[in-house]
C-alpha cells in the first residue's frame, strides 16, 4: 500500500499538471514567446501597440493563418502540403480571369473555389489511393499549379506574355480589403474559421479520426477509420482554404498576381510547426498554428518598425524561429 502522504503529494502534482494541461498543453510555450516579443516591441517602438498596427499585423497574417488551419490538419495526419502557395495563386488567378472576361461574380467565385477543390482533391487522391508520398505529390503540384497560374495569366496583354490581372469586383475587394468597424474583414474570416475548426478537430468524429491517422495509421484503419477518405477530405479542404486565401489576396491587392504565394508553403508549415505540431503526425493544434503565424507576422512588422538592416532581418528571423521552438522543446522535456 502506498502511504497516505504519497497520495496527497500525487494529488497535488496532478492538479498542477492538469492546470498546465487544460491551458493549451503544446501551445502555452509559444504563446509565451509571442507575448515576450510583443512586450519587447511595445517598449522598442511607440507605434507597435497602435490599433492600426495591431490590425495591420493581423491582416498580414490572415492568409497564412487561414491556410495554417488546413495545414494543421494535414500535418496532424502525418502529411504535408508544399503546394499551398501555388494553389492559392491559381485559384485567385482563374477567378480574376473569369471576371476580366466578363463573367459575373458568382460563377467566377465558383470556378475559383472549384479550382482549389480540384487541386486539393488531386493531391489527396494521389496520396491516399496511389500511396505516393505527400512530399512528392505536393512538390509536383507546387510546380503544376504555378504553371497553370501563368497559363491563365497569359495572353491578356499581348501574345504569350503573362501579366497580373486587375480585380475590381466590389465583393472580392471587400472580402480581401474591407473592414467591419476597425477590423479588417479577412481577420474576421480567419478567426471565425479558427474557432469553427478548432471545435471541429476536438469534438467531431472526423476530427478525432484525423489525429488517429497521424498517431498510428494502421491502428486507425483497424479501428474502422476510412483512412483514404479522411485524407482525401483534408487535402481537398486545404485546397478550399487556399482558394479562399487566393481570393482574399486578390481582393486586398485588387490584383491577381502570377507570383503571389511563392515560398508561402514554408511560412505556413513553419507556422504550424512553431505552433507545436509534429511533422511525423498525431500532434498539433489550430490555436498553436495561429500563434505560430502571429509570431512570424510580429517579427516581420518589428523589423520594419525597428529599421533593421536587411541581412540582420534575415538572420534574426531564422534565429528567433529556432529560439522560440527550442525554448518550447526544452520546457516540454522538463515536464
Amino acid at each position: 500500500m502506498v502511504s497516505e502522504n504519497a497520495y496527497v503529494e500525487t494529488e497535488k502534482i496532478t492538479i498542477l499538471s492538469r492546470i498546465k494541461n487544460t491551458t493549451l498543453p503544446g501551445e502555452s510555450g509559444v504563446f509565451a514567446a509571442l507575448m515576450v516579443m510583443c512586450i519587447i516591441m511595445s517598449i522598442a517602438s511607440p507605434y507597435f501597440l497602435k490599433t492600426v498596427n495591431i490590425f495591420n499585423i493581423m491582416r498580414n497574417m490572415s492568409t497564412i493563418g487561414i491556410m495554417a488551419i488546413g495545414m494543421t490538419m494535414i500535418i496532424v495526419t502525418g502529411g504535408i502540403d508544399l503546394s499551398v502557395g501555388s494553389q492559392m495563386a491559381v485559384a485567385g488567378m482563374i477567378m480574376a480571369r473569369m471576371l476580366q472576361n466578363g463573367f459575373p461574380i458568382v460563377p467566377s467565385l465558383i470556378i475559383g473555389f472549384g479550382m482549389g477543390l480540384l487541386t486539393g482533391f488531386f493531391n489527396g487522391f494521389m496520396i491516399s489511393r496511389l500511396k505516393v508520398t505527400p512530399f512528392i505529390v505536393t512538390l509536383g503540384m507546387l510546380s503544376i499549379a504555378r504553371g497553370m497560374t501563368v497559363f491563365f495569366a497569359t495572353g491578356t496583354k499581348g501574345v504569350g506574355v503573362a501579366s497580373n490581372i486587375t480585380v475590381k469586383d466590389p465583393f472580392v475587394n471587400f472580402v480581401g480589403g474591407g473592414y467591419i468597424g476597425p477590423i479588417p474583414f479577412p481577420v474576421i474570416i480567419m478567426f471565425v474559421l479558427v474557432f469553427i475548426f478548432s471545435y471541429f478537430l476536438k469534438n467531431t468524429v472526423l476530427g478525432r479520426q484525423i489525429y488517429a491517422i497521424g498517431s498510428n495509421e494502421e491502428a486507425a484503419r483497424l479501428t474502422g477509420v476510412n483512412v483514404d477518405r479522411v485524407k482525401v477530405l483534408t487535402y481537398t479542404f486545404m485546397g478550399f482554404l487556399c482558394a479562399l486565401s487566393g481570393i482574399i489576396s486578390a481582393g486586398l491587392l485588387s490584383t491577381a498576381a502570377t507570383n503571389i504565394g511563392t515560398g508561402t508553403e514554408l511560412d505556413v508549415v513553419a507556422a504550424v510547426v512553431i505552433g507545436g505540431a509534429s511533422l511525423s503526425g498525431g500532434r498539433g493544434s489550430i490555436a498553436g498554428s495561429i500563434i505560430g503565424a502571429a509570431i512570424m507576422a510580429v517579427l516581420r512588422n518589428s523589423f520594419v518598425l525597428l529599421k533593421m538592416p536587411g541581412y540582420m532581418q534575415t538572420i534574426s528571423i531564422g534565429a528567433i524561429i529556432i529560439l522560440a521552438v527550442t525554448i518550447d522543446t526544452l520546457r516540454q522535456r522538463k515536464q
Binding site: 495591420n56 497580373n164 486586398l252 511563392t262 516581420r300 538592416p309
Partner: protein
C-alpha cells in the same frame, strides 16, 4: 476607419497628370529648394537583395545628407522578404503610415501595392514610386525609374541594330527571363520581342526559359542553348542570370560569335562588357532612382513644388565596350 492620424492632414497641391512622362534633365541632380520649419521624415522603402541596389541606396543616402541641412531625415528601410511583391511592400507601407512619416517613396513591383498607396494618400501622406510600377494607375504623386516595357523596346531596337550592322538578317536569339511569374520581367520580354520582330522580321527566337534570377541556372541554360543551336547568334537576358550566361558563352569560346544583351551595371556584367562577351547592357540610372524621389517629395512638402510629369523616366542608356567609360570607371 483605418489609418487615423493624430496630426492634422496637410494641405497639398494636386499632382501632375498621371501618365505624362518626361526624361528630366536634372535626373539624379535635383536639389532641395528651401529649409523646412518643422522636421520632416521621409521613408524610402528599398531592397538590398542584389548588387543592383548598391547605387540606389547610395542615392537615397546622398539625398539624406543633402536634406539634413534642410531639417529633414531620410530613412532607408528594407522590408522583410527578398522580393518586391505586394505583400512584402504593402505591409511596409502600412507600417510607415503607422509611424506617421511625412512622405513615402516605395518600389511598386506589382499592382497589388496600389491599395496600400491609396491608404497612405488618404491619410495625407504623399507617395512616390521608384524603380518599377505597373500600368494600373494609383494616387501616387510621381514615379522615378525606367519604364520596363520601354526598356524592352530599347533592347529590341539595340539588338536589331547590332545584327543589322553585322549584316545578319535572321539572327537566332535565345531569351532568358528571371521568372515567368514576375510581371516586370515579362514586360521587358514583351517589349523586346515586339520591337525585335518589328525591326528584323527574320529574327528567330529559339527558346524562352527562366533563370529564377540565378547565375548558375543562367550558365546551365546558356550551355544547353549553345549545344542545341549551333548557329545561335545571341542571348537576351531580361533579368538575373546574365553573368552566368556570359560565362557560359566565354567558356565555350564563343565571345564575338554569340552575343549577350542584358540590363544594369553590376561589376561582373561590366567585366564581360569589357571583354566583349556582353555586347551591350541597358542602364536605368539607379542612383537617381534612390536620390530623386526623396528630394522631390521634400520639395513638394515644403514648397508645394509638383514634378513636371507623372513619370520621371530615367535614361535607358545602351552601354557597350566603346562607350562604357562615360558611365563610370570600370
Amino acid at each position: 476607419a483605418n489609418g487615423q492620424q493624430d496630426k492634422p492632414v496637410r494641405e497639398l497641391p494636386p499632382g501632375p497628370a498621371y501618365d505624362s512622362a518626361i526624361q528630366p534633365a536634372d535626373s539624379g541632380q535635383v536639389s532641395p529648394i528651401q529649409k523646412s520649419e518643422t522636421p520632416i521624415r521621409i521613408a524610402v522603402l528599398g531592397l538590398e537583395n542584389n548588387p543592383f541596389w548598391i547605387p540606389v541606396r547610395e542615392g537615397a543616402i546622398a539625398a539624406g545628407k543633402e536634406l539634413a541641412d534642410y531639417n529633414a531625415t531620410i530613412d532607408w528601410i528594407v522590408p522583410v522578404g527578398d522580393s518586391h511583391t505586394a505583400d512584402v511592400f504593402g505591409s511596409a507601407i502600412d507600417a510607415a503610415i503607422a509611424q506617421e512619416y511625412d512622405a513615402i517613396a516605395t518600389i511598386a513591383g506589382d499592382s497589388g501595392i496600389i491599395p496600400y498607396v491609396e491608404r497612405a494618400v488618404a491619410a495625407g501622406i504623399p507617395v512616390a514610386t521608384f524603380n518599377v510600377e505597373t500600368d494600373e494607375p494609383s494616387s501616387r504623386l510621381f514615379f522615378v525609374g525606367a519604364d520596363l516595357y520601354r526598356q524592352g523596346l530599347a533592347a529590341g531596337k539595340a539588338v536589331a541594330d547590332h545584327y543589322k550592322s553585322k549584316g545578319i538578317s535572321n539572327p537566332k536569339i535565345a531569351v532568358m527571363t528571371g521568372f515567368f511569374s514576375v510581371e516586370g520581367h515579362e514586360l521587358r520580354r514583351k517589349g523586346f520581342e515586339e520591337s525585335l520582330m518589328k525591326e528584323i522580321p527574320g529574327a528567330v527566337i529559339v527558346g524562352r526559359v527562366e533563370t529564377l534570377d540565378k547565375d548558375d541556372n543562367g550558365y546551365q541554360l546558356a550551355s544547353d542553348f549553345i549545344v542545341s543551336n549551333p548557329d545561335l547568334n545571341g542571348f537576351y537576358s531580361a533579368a538575373g542570370g546574365s553573368v552566368g550566361c556570359a560565362k557560359a558563352v566565354e567558356d565555350n569560346k564563343l565571345g564575338g560569335k554569340v552575343d549577350v544583351f542584358c540590363y544594369d551595371f553590376m561589376d561582373q556584367v561590366m567585366e564581360y562588357v569589357k571583354k566583349g562577351v556582353i555586347v551591350g547592357t541597358i542602364g536605368q540610372q539607379p542612383f537617381a532612382q534612390g536620390h530623386d524621389p526623396a528630394v522631390r517629395l521634400f520639395n513638394y512638402l515644403v514648397a508645394g513644388e509638383v514634378p513636371e510629369a507623372g513619370r520621371m523616366l530615367t535614361q535607358s542608356d545602351f552601354v557597350t565596350k566603346e562607350n562604357m567609360s562615360q558611365f563610370g570607371d570600370w
